[in-house]
Subunit: 549 residues, 2 copies
């Protein structure tokens, strides 16, 4: 028997296009001699469909599309993920399901047992869990069918053991001869190795081979890395699909491949690939072709522009330098050199006339006031206005260029540099932005060296440097990692050796700037805890460590 | 025995202040001769605490505060809601709990059974459900303790019967003599009557009296209306706390009050009270005292200004008229008259110089382009810049003034009129904005009559009227109600008699403008389905009704 792993890139909600893609992969798998082709979790709807699932028509449409797909399954059967109605009297409306299409019929339907409801996952909002695990009998084989989280029910995966049910143990006890896992498992830095190790260990533990099919592509914040693969029952990797692109991987069970060496990607390389895919798909799936962004001469906009050129082609990227009275000559020169190196479009619009006009309009109201952050924000907002005007006029999507460290502490202007459709590097800490810049310059200098080496500055007042307002980025990023990703308290962070005053200040900045982040453009998630859909903090809150009063 | 229902207004996360408030209410209840005082759901943390619950220190702090509160319970026992650690080996970290404090000890702790995970509720993200219902033995009485959703497990509440467990039936079977329900049940138009009817019916069904304590106050999007109350075992309302304000309601079980007539509020009156409370609390709990908003002379900004003056005092509200070359004289006159009627601060800043400066800056890039929405958005964004500058300089919170109909179809400018800290009427459909205006003018003309009667216009180009771009608001609001609140499909809406082309156009506008709403300021929820935290749609999606290709 030959099994095909169909690593497709569905668009959320686009049942028509997803059905067409699934049909093509079924046909190709049949041509390649496969008896069974396996698609990712919720392949028909795309993952995550979110509240599209609350539309009854959407569920009906998935069912109609499934019936049509069944007609294509003549020579090759297919396992296709989709949301299905729950038929029981009590409980949620839906199941996260996989249908077996064979002999031009929907032969059977299987449901997910474990429903992740943490971080970016909201599955308990929509789905009713399966009551028990089921075995798929196919071509004389007993296939143990699992959906994503079903094989992540391990105490070491979460801080505690979330689930009583252990699907793999149950399947092994029921006589499964192999495990199939259909997934939509988003990219997170380091997760690939973790996943490999988890899968391999489980194959060894239950002495079962595993066939894992992951979705690929970007859907809003989430980037799915693909990396579909197969392990034998000793836990040895025997087949491996591409990462960050569609693929169809055929495995001949009667003549299985032997051990396969992986050449692992470096972290920065993975992040670069992930961001390029996430950006390309967001732009395409939103119906755009081109992007525009502000070029300050600094490293964040340089990295953003370089990734955009790689994702979309230089001809689809326009960089705009918008110098103010505080901009340095070297910034403008660096921006221009970057645009030249990348071959992207380049515009210069000095903001002084609009900046001055706004200052004059506000002068009566601001009489007797000293300059403060207000005047700095004005400049950033004029730039936001100009980029949005270019977006409106030419149908470019605006990329914002802020990094995670800035967004964390609010070192950014709402409706100013935060204005845009996608925040490409908003989950990349500043220290990692530098690594990305080096990675981008690996073969030749795309980002001017001076952009990388000069001290970071917002250039919103004379002689301003980031380090005047913020702790050094290496320290800041470590504190943020502990506070945001690990949920450590101020006490824990200072015990780990960080300055108490700096720690408290950073924590206060993070908490106080929640209002800005809730109005930020969506950002691509690459770490275990990104700002955005997976981090849900109140704005009007006042948590301070408790003391008896 | 006397029972006290303590309807408090906690601030999310502010354990220190919430503990102090709980202590005051315990003392007052004791002075009033109560043996038991009951607080709302998660009173110590405030509801909803969201991802503050993921901070281990936060849970520890709640526990410390509880221990301190127990010390206050000498004469009067207390039931206090808080998040508690789940001690079991498997499952989520926390319980949504209520502790009985008595004789200066934490006597026992009870857990919520039914965890709402729909709309704005995410409880399965954090909490493990109780395994079974428990009876509180207190002063020789068997109290059946329930937490919010536990008494909403009725098939008629949701579109289907979500829960297998029926806590009230179990409690009645276990010999409970009365039911206590501690809640954090947000305001939704029409919910008050529904709640009353539901509670009364359940008292009759199980022949048990009910004591219901609800949180009051605004926490981000959600407004809790209070309305704590008691029913006897025949389902008759016997006691009723105030709505939209803190209250302590004492009920003498040995000498219970008899039937109590409610004088129900009209819908517009309820919405007005809800918005005033939600605004006042958002401003206060975010640490602001004053607000600023643009006054266009139109009805949306007039209603917003009037509500702000009522919530915060006229002296804490500044209205800013920002006329452009397209503004009519009557708009400016209406804005000024409104400010005068309300007694709020009033500024005029004509935007022409900044508007012209931006146009000139863009002229080279826009050579050969015809005017379009770009030029309209520019004006809105200059106004956004000015309001944000006033906010930055004087620490005013900016109120945005858009209504739900506009936000639904994207008839608003991102970073322009959408710029601000709170979208006061963003869940109020335009037709209801008119009703609110009439309600506000009930006693005397605060909003100029001409503001209410003139046809709505954005005044961003000559002779522009809303109705040039949009269907009439009464039709639009009906379609939106069906599409957004009821999740009806285009086919269902046209079957109900709406024009197919208009219906499809409205649906497309709603879908296409999701990106704007995800960057909108938080808005106060007053309908069953508000844009915001409770409606989670993908941006990069392409759902169209399925057709076989």
């Amino acid at each position: 028997m030959k099994i095909a792993l169909a690593q497709i890139n569905p668009t959320v909600g686009d049942i028509i296009a997803n059905t067409a893609a699934i049909r093509q992969f079924i046909d190709q798998a049949a041509r390649d001699g496969a008896q069974l082709v396996i698609f990712p979790e919720l392949a028909l709807s795309g993952y995550p469909p979110k509240d599209l699932l609350l539309k009854p028509q959407f569920i009906d449409d998935c069912q109609s599309a499934l019936a049509d797909l069944a007609q294509c399954c003549t020579d090759c059967a297919a396992l296709v993920g989709l949301p299905c109605r729950h038929q029981g009297q009590t409980g949620r409306d839906l199941h996260n399901a996989v249908a077996l299409l064979n002999h031009q019929k929907i032969e059977s339907v299987y449901y997910k047992l474990l429903l992740p409801t943490y971080d970016v996952f909201d599955e308990s909002r929509y789905f009713e869990p399966a009551r028990s695990q089921q075995i798929v009998n196919f071509h004389g084989k007993k296939l143990g069918l699992t959906i994503c989280e079903d094989i992540w029910a391990q105490p070491h995966v979460h801080s505690r053991d979330l689930y009583e049910t252990k699907p793999l143990a149950d399947l092994a006890a029921t006589g499964a001869e192999m495990v199939i896992n259909v997934s939509a498992s988003p990219f997170v830095l380091g997760k690939h190795d973790f996943r490999r190790e988890l899968f391999s260990r489980q194959c060894r533990e239950y002495q079962l081979p595993l066939f894992y099919v992951n979705q690929v592509g970007g859907n809003d914040e989430l980037i799915f890395d693909g990396n579909s693969c197969a392990f034998d029952s000793t836990g040895t990797l025997i087949a491996q699909a591409k990462d960050f692109t569609e693929d169809l991987l055929i495995i001949d069970l009667d003549n299985p491949p032997s051990s396969r060496c992986e050449s692992p990607r470096r972290d920065t390389e993975s992040i670069q690939q992930a961001l390029v895919l996430g950006l390309r798909d967001y732009v395409r799936k939103c119906g755009f072709k081109t992007v525009v962004l502000g070029l300050s001469g600094g490293i964040d906009s340089a990295v953003t522009a370089a990734l955009a050129a790689q994702a979309l082609g230089a001809e689809n990227v326009t960089g705009v330098a918008m110098p103010s009275r505080y901009s340095s000559d070297h910034s403008l020169a660096d921006a221009e050199q970057l645009a030249k190196n990348l071959g992207i479009g380049y515009l210069t619009i000095p903001i002084e006339p609009a900046h001055a006009a706004l200052e004059n309009l506000l002068a009566p109201a601001f009489a007797d006031c000293s300059p403060d952050i207000t005047e700095e924000n004005l400049q950033a907002r004029v730039r936001g206005n100009l980029l949005m005007a270019l977006s409106n006029k030419f149908n470019h999507l605006v990329l914002t260029t802020g990094n995670k460290s800035e967004l964390a502490v609010g070192y950014c202007t709402l409706y100013g540099d935060m204005a845009g459709g996608l925040a490409l590097i908003s989950d990349v800490p500043k220290t990692m932005v530098y690594q990305l810049a080096r990675q981008i310059n690996h073969d030749r200098e795309l980002i001017p060296e001076s952009t990388i080496t000069k001290p970071p500055s917002a250039e919103l007042r004379p002689d301003q440097l980031d380090q005047d307002s913020l702790p050094p980025y290496d320290k800041l990023d470590e504190i943020l990692q502990r506070y945001v990703e690990q949920e450590q308290s101020a006490a824990q962070i200072t015990t780990a050796g960080f300055d108490p005053q700096t720690t408290r200040r950073v924590i206060n900045l993070v908490d106080r700037n929640e209002y800005k982040r809730q109005q930020a453009a969506p950002g691509l998630k690459v770490t275990s805890r990104a700002f955005g859909f997976g981090r849900r903090l109140p704005i009007a809150q006042n948590y301070q460590p408790y003391k008896k009063t």
